[in-house]
C-alpha cells in the first residue's frame, strides 16, 4: 500500500496490483455459517475463538477463551483430535459429529486441521440432505456423464450442467486462466432470466495472486452470504505470540472487503468456487453464483465438490495427454502426406500449397508464405508481398539461425504498424541464405476483441490515490480492441517446422542429384547420338562415293555403248546417290542441333542474306530469275550464328525452290521488332501448300510434294523448327495452294545485359 503512495499517481498505471498484498489468510472475520476455535497444541487450551461461537456451543465466550478444550468437548473427541495430530492427517477424522446435548445442537460437526502450533477447529451445523444415498448416486451418475464426453467443449458443458443440478446455484461457470492469469468464462449453465457471462474476459487482478495460491491448498471456497453478519476473531492476536490467526485453511474464513464489493457489484449473494488444478498449477475454477438468497453448502457437499474438482482435474490431464497424442499422430500424418506431395510434385509451391494437405494444415496458422526462386507465394491470410519482403530482409540480416519465432511481432517491428496490427505471430524456417528463401507462418493476434466484464480502467479510484483501490464498479459489456500477442508457437510446432525444412532440403538434394544425373545422361546420350550420327553418316559416305564414282565412270566410258534407256538408268543411279548424300548431310546437321550450348551473338541478318542467296544462285543458275526483295532495317537477332544461318538458308532455299517454276517468281524477306520479339517473314509466291496437310511440314522426312517434282530430303523444316525451339522462338506458316507461302519466325528480344559475362 505504501509503495503505491510513493509513486506518481498521474503517470502510474493502475491495475489493482496492490490487491496482491492484502493478507487474506489472516483476515480477522469469520463467516456466520461456522465458528472457529484455535487451540494451542502446547497445552490444549483454547486461545482464540470467533465471536459467534456461542451460537454453536451454548456457552459464554468467557467460558471458552483460555479454557482447556476438554471443558468443551468429550474426551473421546479429544483423543481423536490428538490422534489426528499424531498421524498428521485429519482426512479420516473429519468431520467429527458432536454428540448433542443442552449446549450443542444435534448435527453439529467439527472440522479440524493443524496450523503451525495450533489446532484450528471449525464448528458447523450439518445441512440436512434428504436422501444421502440418492444424492451420492446422483453425483456418481454426473461424474460418469462428464467423463463420457469426448470433446472438451461437451465435457465442460456437461460439467457445469451437472454441478448446477447437484448444488442448485443459479449460475455455474467454468472460469479458465490464461498464461498471465487473466480469466475467461468458457462454459456456463444458468437460470434463464440471468444475463449470460459466457465469453467474458476478466483481468488477472480479479482473482489476486494470493487468492489463487490459496486455491491450490484449499480447493473449495465458499462465500455463503455477501451481506453476512460476520463475527470477529477474539482476541485478534494470540495472547502470547501476538500473531493474527492463520485462517487460510478455514472454510469459514471471512471475505476480503474488496472481494465483497466485487461480488455485490455483480449482484451476487453467495458464491462457491472449486479449483481445477493441472500439473500443480491453477487451470481454472468451477465458479458458482447465487443471486436470490444466501447459500451455504454443508461440509459433506463441499467435500464432494472438491472430489469432483479433483476428478475433473485428472480427467483434464488425461484429456490433454490424449489431445497431445492425437495432435502428434495427426501431425505425423500430415507430415507424411506433405512429404509425399513434395516428392511427387516437381514444384515446391505446388506440393506445399495446392494439394490435399497444405502447410497451413501442418502448422496451425492463419496464413503462410513461401519465398522461393525469386517469388513470394502465399496461402491463407498473409501480409502484403512488400511487407513480407521487409520481414525477409530483417531475417536475412539479423538472424543466423534456421528457425525464427515470435508471438509478438510488434516488439520487433515497431515501425511496421500496419503489419503488426493484423499479424502478431511469425514462425519462419530458412531454406537457403543466398538467395534468401524462407517459409513463413503467420498468426493473427489472439484477442482482436476482448469482451471484458466491465471496464478494467474504471477500477481505479482516481480521486484519492492514497485510498485503497476499489474494484470495478461497472459490469457492462465493454468491447476493447486489444493488439495482443498471438498464440505462442509451441515446441512441437517449431520442431515440425525444422522437420519440414530438413525434408525440403532432402528433396532438393535428391532432385538435384537426379537432375545432375539426368543432365549427365542426357549429355552423354546426345554425345552418343552425335557420334553415332557422325559415324553413320561418315560410314555411309564411303560406299556412296564409290557408287556415284563408278556410275560416273560408266557414263564416261560407256556412254556411246548405251542406249537411251541405259543412260537414263545410270543417271538415275547417280542422282539417287546425290540425294542420299544430302540426306546424310541433313541428318548430321539435325543431330548437331541437339548440342546443349548455344553460342549467343548479335547476328546481323543484313549481311547474311545476300551471301545465302548468292550461294543458291551460283549452285542453281535457274534461280537467277527469281526476284529477291530484302527489307530495310533488318533487326539483329540474338542467337547462334551458325544455326541462324542454317535457318535462313533452309527457308530461303525452299522459297526459291518452290517459286522458281512460277511466271514471275518472287522471294521477299522482311524483319521487324514487335513487342519484345524480333519477327522475320520469308515470303514466296510459289506453289503454296494444301492447308489440310500443312501441319505435317515440320515433321522429319515429311514432305507434301514428291521427289520427281521437287528435290529435297524433308528434313530442312525439321531443322528450322529445332533451331527455333533452341532459341525459345515461335514459327508460323501461312499458305495458299497455288498462290504462295509465308513463313513467320520470331525470336525473343534479349537485353544486352544478359550478354554480360
Amino acid at each position: 500500500m505504501s509503495e503505491i503512495s510513493r509513486e506518481n499517481p498521474y503517470t502510474t498505471k493502475y491495475d489493482l496490483t496492490n490487491c496482491d498484498k492484502e493478507p487474506i489468510h489472516i483476515i480477522q472475520t469469520v463467516q456466520s455459517f461456522a465458528a472457529i476455535l484455535a487451540v494451542d497444541l502446547s497445552d490444549w487450551h483454547i486461545r482464540q475463538t470467533s465471536s459467534n461461537i456461542s451460537e454453536f456451543i451454548k456457552k459464554d465466550i468467557n467460558q471458552i477463551l483460555g479454557k482447556p478444550l476438554s471443558d468443551l468437548l468429550p474426551n473421546f473427541i479429544i483423543e481423536r483430535l490428538k490422534n489426528g495430530i499424531e498421524i498428521q492427517d485429519f482426512s479420516e477424522i473429519n468431520p467429527i459429529v458432536l454428540p448433542f446435548d443442552d449446549e450443542i445442537a444435534a448435527g453439529t460437526i467439527l472440522i479440524a486441521h493443524q496450523k503451525g502450533e495450533q489446532l484450528i477447529i471449525e464448528v458447523e451445523e450439518v445441512e440436512e440432505i434428504e436422501n444421502e444415498l440418492s444424492f451420492l448416486n446422483r453425483v456418481d451418475k454426473a461424474i460418469l456423464k462428464i467423463q463420457a464426453k469426448k470433446e472438451m467443449k461437451n465435457l465442460l458443458r456437461t460439467l457445469v450442467k451437472e454441478v448446477k443440478g447437484i448444488i442448485g446455484y443459479e449460475r455455474v461457470m467454468i472460469y479458465k486462466f490464461d498464461k498471465d492469469y487473466n480469466g475467461a468464462i468458457i462454459a456456463e449453465h444458468k437460470e434463464e432470466h440471468l444475463e449470460s457471462f459466457w465469453g467474458l474476459n476478466y483481468p488477472s487482478t480479479d482473482i489476486p495472486k494470493q487468492a489463487r495460491e490459496l486455491f491450490l491448498t484449499n480447493r473449495v471456497r465458499t462465500i455463503a452470504d455477501v451481506n453476512d453478519n460476520v463475527s470477529m476473531i477474539q482476541p485478534p492476536l494470540h495472547p502470547v505470540t501476538q500473531q493474527p490467526l492463520n485462517v487460510g485453511s478455514s472454510a469459514a474464513r471471512g471475505v476480503s472487503p474488496i472481494h465483497l464489493e466485487y461480488l455485490r457489484n455483480m449482484g451476487v449473494r453467495a458464491s462457491l468456487s472449486v479449483a481445477i488444478v493441472e500439473h500443480g498449477k491453477l487451470w481454472g475454477l468451477i465458479a458458482c453464483h447465487h443471486y436470490s438468497e444466501k447459500k451455504a453448502l454443508s461440509y459433506r457437499t463441499r467435500t464432494l465438490l472438491k472430489f469432483m474438482g479433483q476428478i475433473f482435474s485428472g480427467h483434464l490431464a488425461l484429456f490433454r495427454a490424449n489431445e497431445f497424442r492425437e495432435n502428434l499422430l495427426m501431425k505425423n500424418k500430415v507430415h507424411a502426406q506433405i512429404f509425399t506431395q513434395l516428392d511427387e510434385h516437381k514444384d515446391l509451391i505446388h506440393g506445399l500449397t495446392k494439394e490435399k494437405f497444405t502447410i497451413l494444415d501442418y502448422i496451425k496458422s492463419t496464413g503462410a508464405a513461401i519465398v522461393y526462386e525469386d517469388k513470394i507465394s502465399t496461402i491463407g491470410i498473409t501480409p502484403t508481398d512488400d511487407e513480407i519482403q521487409k520481414l525477409i530482409n530483417y531475417l536475412s540480416e539479423h538472424d543466423e539461425d534456421l528457425v525464427f519465432s515470435t508471438d509478438n511481432l510488434q516488439s520487433i517491428f515497431q515501425e511496421y504498424s500496419n503489419l503488426t496490427k493484423n499479424f502478431a505471430g511469425l514462425l519462419s524456417i530458412k531454406l537457403t541464405a543466398d538467395p534468401a528463401e524462407y517459409i513463413l507462418w503467420f498468426r493473427a493476434p489472439k484477442t482482436k476483441e476482448i469482451f471484458w466484464g466491465g471496464n478494467p480502467e474504471k477500477a481505479i479510484n482516481k480521486q484519492n490515490p492514497k485510498v485503497r483501490l476499489s474494484p470495478r464498479k461497472s459490469f457492462e459489456k465493454w468491447k476493447q480492441v486489444v493488439k495482443g500477442s498471438a498464440d505462442s508457437w509451441e515446441k512441437h510446432e517449431m520442431d515440425a517446422a525444422i522437420l519440414l525444412r530438413n525434408d525440403i532440403k532432402e528433396i532438393f538434394l535428391k532432385r538435384f542429384q537426379e537432375l545432375k544425373k539426368l543432365n549427365h545422361d542426357l549429355k552423354s546420350s546426345y554425345e552418343e547420338l552425335e557420334s553415332f550420327s557422325y559415324s553413320v553418316s561418315h560410314d555411309l559416305r564411303s560406299p556412296l562415293r564409290a557408287i556415284e564414282g563408278f556410275g560416273q565412270i560408266l557414263l564416261e566410258d560407256y556412254a556411246d555403248k548405251l542406249d537411251e534407256y541405259g543412260l537414263s538408268v545410270i543417271n538415275t543411279i547417280v542422282e539417287n546417290i546425290n540425294r542420299m548424300n544430302k540426306f546424310v548431310d541433313d541428318i548430321l546437321r539435325l543431330s548437331k542441333l541437339a548440342k546443349i550450348k548455344l553460342i549467343y551473338n548479335e547476328v546481323d541478318v543484313t549481311n547474311m542474306l545476300p551471301q545465302i542467296i548468292k550461294d543458291f544462285k551460283n549452285a542453281t543458275p535457274d534461280y537467277q530469275k527469281v526476284e529477291i526483295i530484302i527489307g530495310n532495317n533488318l533487326p539483329i537477332i540474338h542467337g547462334d550464328y551458325t544455326m541462324i544461318y542454317q535457318l535462313f538458308s533452309n527457308l530461303v532455299g525452299n522459297a526459291l525452290k518452290y517459286s522458281v517454276i512460277k511466271e514471275n517468281p518472287k522471294v521477299e524477306i522482311v524483319g521487324k521488332i514487335e513487342n519484345s520479339h524480333i519477327v522475320y517473314y520469308v515470303k514466296d509466291n510459289g506453289i503454296g501448300m494444301d492447308n489440310n496437310y500443312i501441319h505435317k511440314i515440320f515433321e522429319v522426312f515429311s514432305r507434301l510434294v514428291s521427289e520427281d517434282e521437287f528435290e529435297g530430303t524433308g528434313i530442312g523444316l525439321s531443322i528450322v523448327k529445332r533451331i527455333i525451339e533452341r532459341h525459345q522462338g515461335i514459327i508460323n506458316v501461312e499458305s495458299e495452294l497455288g498462290k504462295g507461302t509465308t513463313f513467320e519466325v520470331s525470336f525473343p528480344k534479349i537485353d544486352n545485359e544478359q550478354f554480360a559475362p
Binding site: H538, S542, R545, A546, G549, G551, I553, N578, N581
Partner: protein, 139 residues
C-alpha cells in the same frame, strides 16, 4: 633414285581406284605410289628407303596405324619432315582439322562426294603442289 610426284595413302580400294583413274585420265602424272595403310608407309620410307614424293595425300581413318600417327611420325623424322602432307579425308570434324594442323599437316581437304568434283580437285591439287609448289631438293 627417282622421285615420284604423289604418294597417296588410302585404305579404300574404290577411292584408290578413282584417284588412279583420274591421275591417268587427266594426264596428271604417272609417277605415283599408292599405299594401303600406315605400316606400308613406314616400310616405304624407313625400311625400303624408297624415293621421296613431291607431296603426300593421307587419309585419316585407316586400319592398324591411322593417318595421324603417320603424320606425326613423318613430321618428326629428319628425312621426311619437309614433305608436304595433305590430309585427304571424308571427315569435316573440327577436332580432326585441329589435330591435323597441330601435328604439322600442310593442308586439309575433304573428299568430295561426287566424282566430277574429285576430278576438278585433283587437277587443282596438281596445279598447286606440282606446278607451283617448290620442294626441298638434294642438290
Amino acid at each position: 633414285m627417282e622421285s615420284i610426284d604423289l604418294l597417296f595413302v588410302e585404305d579404300s580400294v574404290n577411292d584408290a581406284h578413282f584417284v588412279q583413274r583420274i591421275l591417268k585420265k587427266e594426264n596428271l602424272t604417272e609417277k605415283f605410289c599408292w599405299l594401303k595403310n600406315g605400316e606400308e608407309v613406314f616400310n616405304y620410307f624407313f625400311q625400303e628407303k624408297k624415293p621421296k614424293p613431291r607431296f603426300i595425300m593421307l587419309d585419316i581413318k585407316m586400319p592398324k596405324v591411322n593417318g595421324f600417327e603417320v603424320l606425326e611420325k613423318l613430321k618428326n623424322n629428319e628425312q621426311t619432315k619437309d614433305i608436304p602432307i595433305i590430309i585427304y579425308s571424308s571427315s569435316a570434324q573440327k577436332s580432326d582439322i585441329t589435330a591435323a594442323y597441330a601435328l604439322g599437316a600442310n593442308s586439309y581437304i575433304n573428299k568430295p562426294p561426287r566424282y566430277q568434283d574429285m576430278k576438278e580437285l585433283f587437277v587443282n591439287l596438281f596445279q598447286y603442289w606440282i606446278t607451283l609448289n617448290k620442294n626441298v631438293t638434294n642438290d
